[in-house]
């Protein structure tokens, strides 16, 4: 899979065979680690709704750059804001951006992919060439364009990341659809006079769902990286709402005196991306039957 800020190019591997629930395998260590990390981030985000050690936006001039202490476990930043509280709120921002961006990508990409897989060749080619074209506009570039025309915000970042990830979902959905529509039960359904819409809803979507779940996890990792990069550049979440990318950007000014201010949000981003990547790998191991031969 392609990650990295630089690597915002979405994973475009097409599935070979659609998995069925019967073929699921037990959880791999990769999936367990991924689930644990993602669970931890989700827990931080959930707890932040009811409790944080301090108000993450509260400025305290007397407690600037304190470093780790009993009252501020991860220290404070140059404005005296509690770093742990900001990390907890940042988890919320990260997950929110990820959910919306992946949701946009899945809601647009899946129907496009299914349509391409079931429609005549001309429509299929048109949709897939349009997706190829969209791949030339990575999330970062799209978000900067949005930022140039409209005012940069969390919304523009989410939309940009979502749109840039549409081709990956469309390709996965198309690949899965092409296999399902060639199966005997779909031929039988066609013979029985079922409409394309009914076949898509009843046979295609349930069968390609596992592939889409795997892709969602992979896309989530990419979205986390993209959101962090955009906030770092000032094209994502705006102050005073905490975000890990902006915490990193602000920490650059105090790198000489308090380098740990870069480490905490950096660690949060890396662990979140690692979690979603490993979860994606684990889910692929669980659902992708091609891997049976490789064990």
């Amino acid at each position: 899979m392609s990650t990295g800020v630089a690597g915002m190019a979405p994973d475009v591997q097409e599935p070979a065979v659609v998995a069925t629930p019967r073929r699921r395998r037990p959880m791999t260590p990769s999936m367990r680690i991924g689930l644990t990390l993602v669970g931890l981030i989700a827990l931080l985000a959930l707890v932040s709704f009811v409790w944080t050690p301090y108000d993450p936006t509260a400025i305290d001039a007397d407690a600037r750059l304190t470093g780790s202490s009993a009252s501020h476990i991860l220290g404070t930043d140059k404005f005296g804001r509690d770093v742990l509280s900001q990390i907890m709120w940042g988890a919320r921002t990260t997950l929110f951006v990820g959910v919306v961006a992946v949701g946009v990508a899945a809601l647009l990409g899946t129907p496009l992919g299914v349509l391409a897989g079931m429609a005549p060749r001309g429509v299929d080619q048109f949709i897939m060439r349009a997706c190829d074209l969209l791949l030339a506009f990575p999330a970062l570039l799209l978000a900067i364009m949005f930022g140039a025309v409209f005012s940069a915000s969390t919304l523009t970042a989410m939309l940009a990341i979502g749109l840039a990830t549409v081709p990956a979902f469309a390709r996965i959905a198309r690949g899965g659809t092409l296999q399902v529509v060639r199966s005997e039960y779909v031929l039988a359904a066609r013979s029985a006079g079922r409409s394309r819409w009914a076949i898509a809803r009843r046979h295609v979507l349930p069968n390609i769902a596992p592939l889409l779940i795997v892709q969602s996890s992979v896309a989530f990792g990419i979205a986390v990286l993209a959101e962090a990069a955009l906030s770092f550049l000032g094209f994502g979440t705006k102050p005073p709402n905490p975000s890990w990318g902006r915490m990193l950007q602000e920490s650059q000014e105090t790198l000489h005196s308090t380098p740990m201010l870069s480490v905490w949000p950096g660690l949060a981003i890396a662990l979140a991306v690692l979690g979603f990547n490993m979860l994606g790998d684990g889910l692929r191991d669980r659902f992708d039957p091609r891997l049976d031969d490789r064990r």
Binding site: M1, S2, T3, G4, V5, A6, G7, M8, A9, R129, D132, L133, L135, A136, F137, P138, L140, L141, I144, M145, G147, A148, V149, F150, G221, L225, A228, A229, F232, L233, L248, S251, Q252, L255, H256, P259, S262, V263, G266, I269, A270, L271, V273, L274, N277, M278
Partner: protein, 314 residues
């Protein structure tokens, strides 16, 4: 073969035309227009009208597009709304810097990925192979700008070995150039190298299971000889595709790294253009980046056909 090349070239050209329409429309059909945006909310209608007349944005959109696209064909990107300087001159100055950074990062990334990926595959059942896979998984989760900040903290702030920011042209001071290039290239290349390592590993693993490699070994070649003589060409097929994606990713990643290290490249020009609301400049830089990504994909497509003869007829 020729038909494949012609078909891919036609798709490439059509993609550039479609991308130029998208970029143009996106920047043109905005609330207000480039003149209003660049002058701000306090501008008088006369001032806005003057800027519109000067830059031709008062003409119908199709005319503007034909004018702009025609300019692109001759290498004329127009003039900056703010500085009134040639956008082409600004882009070409900055593009050189970004290209140097991207290619240096690509070298770093290959230097990491080729040996480590091959080693991880060759030793995939041993602890060292698993450890290498784990490290590459971890490396792929680190954003380049985080790597950049941590490298600055260690090698600039703590050890003082490299400068933390800035850029020196190679003609001015070659040693200074190398010292300033080192950290940005490593930051960008390290992360992409980790991603690439995973692809190299799986490509080599795939090849190691092939019958032709078993045959080569049966004929008396050692495992390493068989891998080098017969395996690497086959392993190169998926790696070349990923390398193309990586190159495009490095180009976009350079936008962020240039901000971390205050490098006067294309990314900095783009971000400066956005800050100053210079939409014609932004439009030009975006177009260059999009064409570069399309060009990379096109070249990878062609290379793919050259490496894998099975694809020539398809």
């Amino acid at each position: 073969m020729l038909l494949t090349v012609l078909r891919r070239t036609a798709v490439f050209v059509a993609s550039i035309v479609a991308a130029s329409v998208l970029v143009f429309l996106f920047m043109a059909v905005l609330p207000g227009d480039a003149a209003e945006v660049s002058l701000g909310t306090n501008a008088t209608p006369e001032a806005v009208a003057a800027v519109r007349a000067e830059f031709g944005t008062d003409r119908p959109l199709p005319t503007q597009y034909v004018d702009w696209a025609g300019g692109l064909l001759t290498g004329d990107f127009g003039r900056s709304l703010i500085s009134r300087e040639s956008v082409t001159a600004q882009i070409s100055d900055r593009l050189q810097v970004t290209m140097i950074l991207v290619f240096a990062a690509m070298v770093v990334s290959l230097l990491i990925a080729l040996p480590l990926g091959t080693l991880a595959a060759a030793r995939h059942q041993r602890g060292s192979g698993l450890a290498l896979s784990g490290v590459s998984q971890l490396g792929a989760a680190v954003p380049a700008f985080l790597a950049g900040i941590l490298l600055v903290a260690l090698f600039s702030v703590t050890l003082g070995w490299f400068p933390s920011s800035g850029w020196t042209a190679p003609d001015d001071d070659f040693v200074g150039f190398l010292r300033q290039l080192a950290l940005p290239a490593i930051s960008l290349g390290l992360v992409e190298g980790a991603v690439l390592t995973r692809y190299v590993r799986s490509a080599v693993l795939e090849v190691l299971r092939e019958d032709f490699l078993r045959t080569a070994r049966a004929k008396g070649l050692t495992r390493s000889q068989a891998l080098v003589r017969h395996g690497l060409r086959n392993a190169a097929i998926p790696v070349v595709t990923v390398l193309g994606l990586q190159l495009a990713a490095l180009l976009i990643g350079a936008v962020v790294i240039e901000r971390v290290y205050v490098i006067p490249g294309l990314g900095s020009l783009l971000l400066d253009g956005v800050s100053s609301r210079d939409l014609l400049l932004v439009q030009g830089v975006v177009m260059v980046l999009v064409v570069a990504v399309l060009l990379i994909n096109y070249v990878v497509d062609l290379l793919y056909t050259v490496i894998d003869p099975r694809l020539r007829g398809s």
